[in-house]
């Protein structure tokens, strides 16, 4: 049996903005909340449906704040109720300019998962 995996690419700089902003839409333009809701989640659902891998490219922007990254990726677990295992199987990251951001994003997702588990137990 041959399993075909297609790579879907989401480039934040070209598909969303070169100047990522704050956490929430109410705080300013190009927020993590808008990115997650309008760009990331639809692409992620498409990748899940097609059993593809979604590669998120972080390069080409002016820079990221902690809140934008946490809301975008941690928010997938906290707000959209996806699990860390699902995200790990479908999401990949690439960054030549700031590779340490990938570790940070993974930490935010792990923290959100811990919170989710804690809340579920409570």
């Amino acid at each position: 049996m041959i399993i075909q995996v297609f790579l879907m690419l989401l480039n934040i700089a070209s598909d969303f903005t070169t100047a990522p902003g704050p956490r929430y839409d109410s705080e300013g333009k190009f927020s993590g909340e808008v990115f997650r809701r309008d760009v990331l989640l639809p692409k992620l659902n498409e990748a899940l449906q097609k059993k593809d891998v979604l590669t998120v490219c972080l390069d080409g922007t002016a820079g990221y704040g902690t809140s934008f990254l946490e809301e975008s990726f941690g928010g997938l677990i906290r707000e959209d109720k996806l699990t860390l295992a699902t995200l790990n199987s479908v999401l990949k990251f690439e960054s030549e300019e700031e590779p340490e951001l990938i570790t940070e994003i993974r930490e935010y997702m792990t923290d959100a998962e811990s919170e989710r588990i804690k809340e579920a137990k409570a």
């Binding site: 956490r23 929430y24 705080e27 002016a62 704040g65 934008f68 946490e70 940070e104």
Partner: protein
């Protein structure tokens, strides 16, 4: 001075070492030097001098290259310090995208410094001294993190939460002191890195 290094003992030790060294050499007094110098001797002397000159030139060039490499790393670390100085403008907050842009410039400068050090095969300890990932992460957190809504709703102390309005972040009082301390800590690490490279 401790008794072991008293001048008398030092002189005595010198005399004993001198006598012992002279024992195996006393027979060489019978050696005579030939007054004739052959062409081979001349050629040998020239070759020795030439080799000496080549070695000296090589060492000089090597030292010069080392200095240039060090200067390159030190210049790169100066760029890191310049970016850190720019953060002074944002001690109370500012336009979020300006802060994130500065953070990116800082991260790129740090990455370049580390890459040069790794490329030039400096020791592990120097590579560690020019690795600033955790400092950048902490600075990013202090300068750009705002709370999640449900946490904010339950926050007892608003002093601990920064807030953003129309893309402008205002750092919470509690964050400002931490932000200053983190910048100072970062600077010290860069200075230490520069000192290590200078000593190497």
């Amino acid at each position: 001075m401790t008794p072991a290094f008293h001048p008398f003992f030092l002189v005595l030790a010198g005399v004993i070492v001198g006598l012992l060294a002279a024992l195996p050499l006393k027979n060489y007094g019978l050696l005579t030097l030939s007054p004739e110098v052959t062409m081979g001797n001349v050629f040998q002397a020239c070759a020795t001098i030439l080799t000496g000159l080549i070695v000296a030139a090589y060492i000089q060039r090597s030292v010069h290259a080392d200095r240039k490499e060090k200067d390159l790393i030190l210049r790169q670390l100066d760029l890191v310090l310049a970016s850190l100085d720019e953060f002074e403008r944002f001690r109370e907050g500012g336009k979020l995208t300006d802060i994130t842009a500065l953070l990116k410039r800082l991260a790129v400068s740090c990455k370049a410094a580390k890459e040069i050090v790794v490329f030039l095969k400096y020791s592990r300890s120097i590579v560690d001294q020019t690795k600033f990932d955790s400092e950048i992460k902490e600075l990013r957190k202090l300068a750009t993190e705002t709370p999640i809504k449900k946490i904010q709703d339950h926050a007892q102390n608003a002093l601990m939460s920064s807030e953003v309005r129309e893309g402008i972040i205002k750092l919470a009082e509690g964050q400002r002191a931490k932000f200053d301390a983190e910048i100072q800590k970062f600077r010290m690490k860069v200075f230490k890195g520069q000192m290590c490279i200078n000593k190497f």
